[in-house]
Symmetry: C2
């Protein structure tokens, strides 16, 4: 991936996404004895960075593909992102969601214009249903985190941050399916001379950490984390990027995630989702490492169910 391609991606999606603000907090800087720059994708359209990848993937389709629509399976932010991006671009979006997906998430997808197709609750059932939609509608399948154009799109959050602050020592992002961290790595390689990328993951779903050790994509036996956006595992397109170029992956406990989330809500007065608190927790738990450094953190999103808060 060269810089020209990444820059084209950024220019391509610009009209459809927010250049989100970068916030700082004197209290958190003091707490960590470092300079921390929060790239606030919680203020992105539909409330998460996923909008970037969804827009890019659709814009890269040819005319015939656009006419026939797109399909994905997701019950999280990517379902909403693909729905809203499709809506903007006049494309049909078919979203395969398990029957037991929360009503509030289904309502959000519908409100953005996505067509929900229900499947049974297993991963296999969801994949089978997505394949069925591809065949019946001729729709193009867009993977939430492993699609190449999605990965490039997600990298544009870090591109914006590095264009504004070109002297960061570290860039941190949470690792779920791997799209955001892989895109962030590509951005750092092309828009900075020295910036190292560090991933953050809940210990409860440390598949990426173990994948890095074993050299192959690992999965999780359980998904018992509050960071609901990070329960997935890496893919064949993003793992090679991560394996080759990531500096390290830091894993954090559940209570550390909740504490970091609380700190950001209380002190920065912004609503972030648990997944976004994971790199903040990784920073706070490793103050010595980051002392006197300049650190960018991708705050991945702000979609939380206020009736289910951990405080």
């Amino acid at each position: 991936m060269n810089k020209i391609e990444l820059e084209k991606t950024h220019q391509r999606i610009k009209p459809y996404v927010h250049n989100t603000p970068v916030l700082t907090s004197q209290i958190i800087n003091k707490l960590c004895d470092a300079e921390v720059y929060f790239k606030c994708e919680n203020f992105q359209k539909m409330g998460a960075f996923k909008m970037r990848g969804a827009v890019n993937a659709i814009l890269c389709l040819n005319t015939e593909q656009k006419t026939k629509g797109v399909v994905t399976h997701s019950s999280g932010n990517f379902a909403q992102a693909l729905s809203l991006a499709s809506n903007y671009l006049g494309v049909n979006a078919y979203i395969v969601m398990p029957k037991n997906a929360p009503k509030v998430k289904k309502a959000a997808v519908r409100s953005y214009g996505g067509v929900i197709i229900e499947s049974d609750n297993t991963t296999k059932a969801r994949e089978t249903m997505a394949l069925k939609v591809q065949n019946e509608k001729g729709a193009t399948f867009i993977h939430p985190s492993n699609d190449t154009q999605v990965i490039y799109g997600q990298g544009t959050a870090a591109i914006e941050l590095l264009k504004e602050y070109d002297d960061l020592d570290y860039l941190m992002a949470p690792i779920g399916g791997g799209g955001l961290i892989a895109g962030t790595i590509l951005a750092a390689q092309n828009y900075s001379n020295q910036c190292k990328v560090i991933g953050a993951e809940p210990k409860e779903v440390d598949d990426a950490y173990r994948s890095l050790k074993s050299g192959k994509i690992e999965s999780n036996d359980s998904s018992n984390t509050i960071a609901d956006g990070l329960r997935t595992y890496l893919g064949s397109n993003n793992f090679p990027i991560i394996k080759q170029y990531i500096q390290e992956i830091i894993c954090v406990d559940e209570n550390e995630i909740v504490e970091a989330m609380k700190l950001v809500w209380e002190r920065m007065k912004i609503v972030i989702e648990p997944s976004s608190a994971v790199p903040v927790a990784a920073l706070i738990q490793n103050k010595e490492k980051f002392k006197n450094k300049k650190i960018g953190i991708i705050i991945s999103g702000g979609n939380v169910d206020l009736s289910q808060l951990p405080f």
Copy 2:
């Protein structure tokens, strides 16, 4: 109050406060069929507009007064504001707080450098104790909402907003002790040709609404509102300004306040305190009135106890 004095106030406090961001929300604009500009004092130092008035009041003291310190009675945001402002300016701050004030609020005052002086829980006991501190320490009493320099200081939030958006039709702010709304009125008079100021108040503590009707300062029999910053009543310095120049006061129900707060948290991804949600609720409950208008809302603060949320 002429514009020169207000402008001097703004320049005086500038080095000590944030020029807070003005946010907009496509979703809320669409919901109200209007253009709404949120002046986000929840991002102000110590989390509320009160910092502005506290800084201004201290800066307007003479050298001898500064040496002897300041005293106030407050268990809310002004206690924290006066503590932090005094800390910045090298002045002693004595904060009279009732014995039963929440520990978390006392801890906040201490963390900002204020000296807590405990009193019994009645208003009379607090006032007596504040007087005692004035006599013993020679400290200057600063009223949280009725001090003239506090009122001017609070007006600077609206000044910043009107400097950025000079064509607002309405400016809305919550009414508690009256300092913010009086300052906002002075700002609108001097920095806009057409902007009308509307106050918003919980029905449960509608003392300002009744004061406007009766022509004298009314109090509340109960204080049963979630908007804990608005339980106080108007003062002799701010009431004449309010009485003469306010366009109207809109009162809202408790459930409307909670719904408005939830809307802002969920859709704008920012943490606002219940008092800040009161003008948002007033807007939403009066859509016809504000249709196609440009409305500025002072989001007064973001200090909430996350363990006591109403959701």
